[in-house]
Amino acid sequence: MPNNPPPALSLQDVSLTLKSLAGPVDILNQVSLEVAPGETVALTGPSGSGKSSLLMVAAGLEKPSSGRIAVTGTDITKMGEDALARFRLGRVGVVFQSFHLIPTMTALENVAVPLELMGVSDAFARAEKELRGVGLIQRTDHYPGQLSGGEQQRVALARALAPGPQILFADEPTGNLDGATGAGIADLIFALNAERGATLFLVTHEESLARRCGRMLRMADGKIVANG
């Protein structure tokens, strides 16, 4: 019998409660979910439903209050902060709504950072290739402050994909962009992801974008209310 590959992402009864001045707030409530390798999944829902928090927890950026999380078969639930950082290297890519580039580094340097952290010897050559892939080869020496929003998001995408992650998390990647620019970025995400065969976990409240994924999940009040 052939060995089935482990799911790209597996969440079992994951809850997240945060403290606030008004008392504890339940953000995620017993969420369970499995995403197969290479699958593209969209997570939608109204503001405050817990979409971004679920992405943070799944990407190892936030520790859940309870439950179990496995990414590409590795249980990350009990990992410390540094172990999680090491785990993300080369396995997990993240794209944010606010781009989150390092302002003091050029576009090329921003893309090279994860490769350099991995100890890749030709980090800059590969970073350059990634920038070419997102159509920004002429902008390698520009700082984030000198780039438009769409360009910054393309740099962020190149940076997330440069180490060849098995899973790409994208949190409202077009949320800060105008319609045409956003559509261009969306095309790029799907094209590059398909090209590399990575799993895509996309948080969005844009219905049209969500429909481009193989599966759509819907969240409300910290729970997944629709799956399929």
């Binding site: 902060e81 080369g90 993240v94 003091t104 950072v113 350099e116 952290l117 940076r159």
Partner: protein, 849 residues
């Protein structure tokens, strides 16, 4: 006016949210104002203490001092007619333990029954003065000595000691004397005896170097200051009229301890200037803090402008906020400083040489307020004016690259006017405006140099090839990113460290001169009061040592310079650095031929057989300071006799040799007829030094033997405590520098947290991120230390070369203190400040982005 009221209302509304944006600004001003107010208040308290206690510290309303001779009966009768008189005889002498095992040079003071006219000495065990110094039937008189004499002679209370031919019994330990402070520099422990016991010692001869001091409680002195001043002036006038040629040195209670007073005044000026540097350092930080504050208020400013507020109005709103905080900080700082005299007495109590006089001194408070507010205006206006000049849109966009501003000249002029105000105020209150001006010019030059070097550092780092290591790249770009605090930290912390490096290097230089260069040339011993009848045998004892060299015995008599070319010394115009030659008595010698090593710079030495009217060979620097030339006359008073001499030649006297140096060398013919003793110096090998000490002190108990090593040690101890005090004071500026660093770290915290979050998302561990900060702050600290060392060395070299006229000693301590200390402090505070960024969970930061 209406706009001002509105701006005030807006400013108050803004401040309701608290001082969060002004913390560093507030602390910098508080520290500087407290330092200035503290130093000035303490100084006023000491000077008032000196004034209030002048009568006790001097031992009378006036003190009349004669050298070599007591007052004549007529002089004494005159003094007795003025009020109650007490006589004290002071000299240096050798004290011996009775078993002859220990011997020590002492400052011997013989007092009459009326001493002291004011205050009382303190003994252990507590006893009555008369009982302590009473003479027994067998002729042995009592004595009180400082504990250090008992320790060095290995004697205890009740033991006998010898002074010349007489024996004394130690009855008590002398803890304090009311008029001790007016004595000045001493070479040995104090020994107090009755003047009645002194003749038996055989030490009191007309040739010996003895001070006779008559302290007078004037009849009509009264208790009112005006009355006592009038009485003192009357006494001086009568004394001058009755005995114009007495050659006595009269001091009064208004200037009981001129040395201490001068010292306090000079030290106050220096420490006030250090306080000003602290304000300057803080000012740099304040400027940065205001920039950071405006960065946070960007949206508020833009909204105000969008709603129709003019640039000038916006400036006014924020200027008023800054000045409200500045007033609070300086008032609080001044109040804290005013408490320093109380804290000093509480901490040091009886150890203080002069008890400070408690009180609220308004001048120091006003001074610190003025300095604090002026420096707030100097440093706050330029950054505040940016808010006025920047259009609303660019305020929103100006996140990375500061916007270019225009129309700043008016605001620069306000800032410059406030800076000039600080300089003018400093010069007005400084006792030595020239020194203050030099110090301020030096501080401004150092500030400019540091700014220049900081900019050089920034450019050098920016020009470095981009490192392939992301951590190193991030660390280095953090140092040069637009809005980075590198320039401010290098300048501010660097200025404090520069001051510390300068003080450390100058201390090392002076120490080298005192302990290294000086002893290499200085004699091993000074022998004072060699009587004429023992001179020959003394010569043979000293020169009998095979290791003795450079033996020199010179006649010496003390006298005063009373007039310069007919102008009384008191009225003559004399340069400050030559005044010392006219204050009090000077050693005078005579010689037929130029003493070996004499360098004549002008004029001719007299013929060896010259016996005509007195000719004078004068130190050329004193000639320069007094304006005297060849052929001019000088009036001298020796042993109460005035006589005139003409200047025949000028000599170059090198006082740094530590050997025999006389300002005045006279031709023989008159002066050699006056009773006088001899001064001798000799160098001896280390191996024979102790043997010579024992041989001379055994054979000639009347000769005061000064071991140069001991004197140098005493000077070194004094210098090192002074250097420690000054170094401690310069720590205030370093503290201000560290506040600036803390401000810079706080201002950059947001960007740092952001970078750390992204790096964590991308897979960097906390250790790797910490390494970024370690590199960043390590480079910043080491560069600041190195730059400060460079600037400090330059400043110390200029002072050593142009003022001290000695080569600079570069010592490792300065390097370690400045570079390593500065680097370590920066690294420590930098990492401490970065802890928040390391601890932050990525999701929290990303959630709020």
């Amino acid at each position: 006016m209406a706009e001002l009221r509105l701006a005030l209302r807006f400013a108050r509304r803004e401040l309701r949210g608290g001082f969060q944006g002004f913390r560093i600004f507030f602390l910098c001003l508080l520290l500087g104002s407290a330092a200035i107010s503290g130093v000035e208040s303490l100084s006023d308290a000491f000077l008032t203490g000196l004034q209030d206690q002048g009568q006790v510290l001097l031992g009378g309303d006036v003190s009349v001092n004669l050298v070599h001779r007591p007052a004549t009966s007529k002089e004494r009768a005159f003094l007795d007619a003025q009020g109650r008189v007490s006589e004290a005889i002071s000299m240096r002498a050798m004290a011996y333990a009775r078993d002859n095992k220990g011997r020590q040079l002492v400052e011997l003071k013989g007092v009459d029954d009326r001493w002291p006219l004011f205050g009382a000495p303190a003994f252990t065990p507590a006893q009555n003065l008369r009982d302590v110094i009473a003479c027994e039937d067998d002729g042995v008189c009592g004595a009180a000595a400082e504990q250090s004499l008992l320790d060095r002679l290995h004697v205890r209370r009740g033991d006998l000691i010898k002074l010349g031919d007489a024996t004394f019994r130690i009855m008590a330990v002398l803890d304090s004397e009311p008029d001790r402070i007016s004595t000045g520099f001493t070479l040995g422990p104090q020994l107090l005896v009755s003047a009645r016991g002194l003749p038996a010692t055989g030490l009191v001869t007309p040739e010996s170097l003895i001070d006779y001091t008559y302290r007078v409680a004037l009849k009509n002195a009264g208790t009112e200051p005006a009355q006592s001043r009038a009485a003192i002036a009357g006494f001086r006038a009568r004394a001058q009229a009755a005995f114009p040629d007495a050659g006595w040195n009269i001091r009064d209670r208004t200037d009981a301890a001129p040395g201490i007073k001068r010292f306090v005044e000079q030290l106050t000026m220096f420490l006030t200037l250090v306080g000003l540097v602290a304000l300057g350092v803080g000012g740099v930080g304040a400027g940065q803090a205001i920039l950071a504050f405006l960065d946070r208020k960007r949206a508020d400013i833009a909204i105000l402008k969008t709603l129709g507020a003019s640039g000038g109005f916006v400036f006014l709103v924020f200027f008023l906020q800054v000045m409200m905080v500045a007033v609070l900080a300086t008032v609080l700082g001044a109040a804290l400083g005013a408490a320093l005299p109380f804290a000093t007495v509480w901490t040091y109590g009886a150890k203080l040489p002069v008890p400070p006089s408690f009180g609220l001194y308004p001048v120091p408070l006003l001074l610190s307020l003025a300095f604090g507010l002026l420096s707030a205006v100097t440093f706050a206006v330029p950054p505040l004016s940016r808010a006025r000049a920047v259009p609303p849109a660019s305020l929103f966009r100006d996140l990375i690259v500061p916007a270019k501003t225009s129309g700043q000249n008016f605001y620069r002029a306000i800032s410059a006017a406030a800076a000039i105000g600080i300089a003018v105020l400093t010069l007005l209150v400084a006792p030595s405006p020239v020194f203050a001006a030099e110090f301020l010019a030096g501080a401004v030059a150092a500030l400019a140099l540091l700014r220049l070097l900081a900019e050089g550092l920034r450019r050098a780092i920016a020009a470095l090839p981009r490192s392939r290591s992301p951590l190193l790249r991030l660390a280095l770009t953090n140092l040069v990113r637009p809005g980075a605090a590198t320039g401010g930290v290098v300048t501010a912390l660097g200025l404090g460290l520069t001051l510390l490096a300068t003080v450390t290097l100058l201390n090392a230089t002076i120490n080298t001169q005192v302990s290294g260069a000086l002893p290499a040339r200085a004699p091993s011993f000074f022998f004072v009061d060699i009587q004429p009848d023992e001179a020959a045998s003394f010569d043979s004892v000293v020169t009998g040592f095979s290791g003795a060299s450079d033996y020199k015995r010179t006649p010496m008599i003390r006298g005063r310079i009373t007039a310069l070319d007919g102008v009384p010394s008191a009225d003559a115009k004399v340069a400050p650095d030559a005044k010392w030659a006219l204050n009090g008595d000077r050693g005078i010698t005579y010689a037929a031929t130029p003493p070996p090593g004499t360098v004549i710079t002008e004029g001719q030495w007299w013929p060896a057989n010259y016996r005509g009217p007195t000719l004078i060979s004068l130190d050329q620097s004193i000639a320069q300071g007094t304006g005297l030339r060849i052929g001019d006359s000088m009036t001298l008073n020796v042993l109460g006799r005035s006589f005139e001499g003409r200047i025949a030649n000028l000599r170059k006297v090198d006082f740094t040799t530590g050997g025999q140096n006389f300002v005045l060398v006279l031709s023989p013919g008159l002066i050699d007829k006056a009773p006088h003793a001899f001064l001798a110096t000799v160098r001896v090998t280390d191996a024979q030094e102790n043997a010579m000490y024992l041989a001379v002190t055994d054979r000639f108990p009347n000769i005061s033997t000064v071991r140069v090593k001991d004197a140098i040690q005493q000077v070194q101890d004094l210098l090192s405590s002074l250097a420690e005090g000054v170094s401690a004071a310069s720590l205030v500026t370093i503290l201000a520098g560290l506040l600036v660093l803390a401000g810079a770290i706080a201002a950059g915290a947001r960007a740092r947290l952001y970078d750390a979050t992204i790096l964590k998302v991308l897979g960097a561990t906390r250790a790797r991120i910490a390494l970024v900060y370690a590199i960043e702050y390590g480079v910043l600290g080491a560069a600041t230390g190195a730059i400060a060392l460079l600037a400090g060395t330059l400043a110390a070299w200029i002072i050593a070369f142009s003022i001290l006229d000695v080569p600079l000693t570069f010592d490792l301590k300065a390097v370690v203190v400045t570079v390593a200390g500065g680097g370590a402090a920066t690294l420590f505070f930098g990492l401490l400040g970065a802890l928040g960024a390391l601890r932050a969970r990525p999701a929290r930061r990303l959630r709020t982005a």
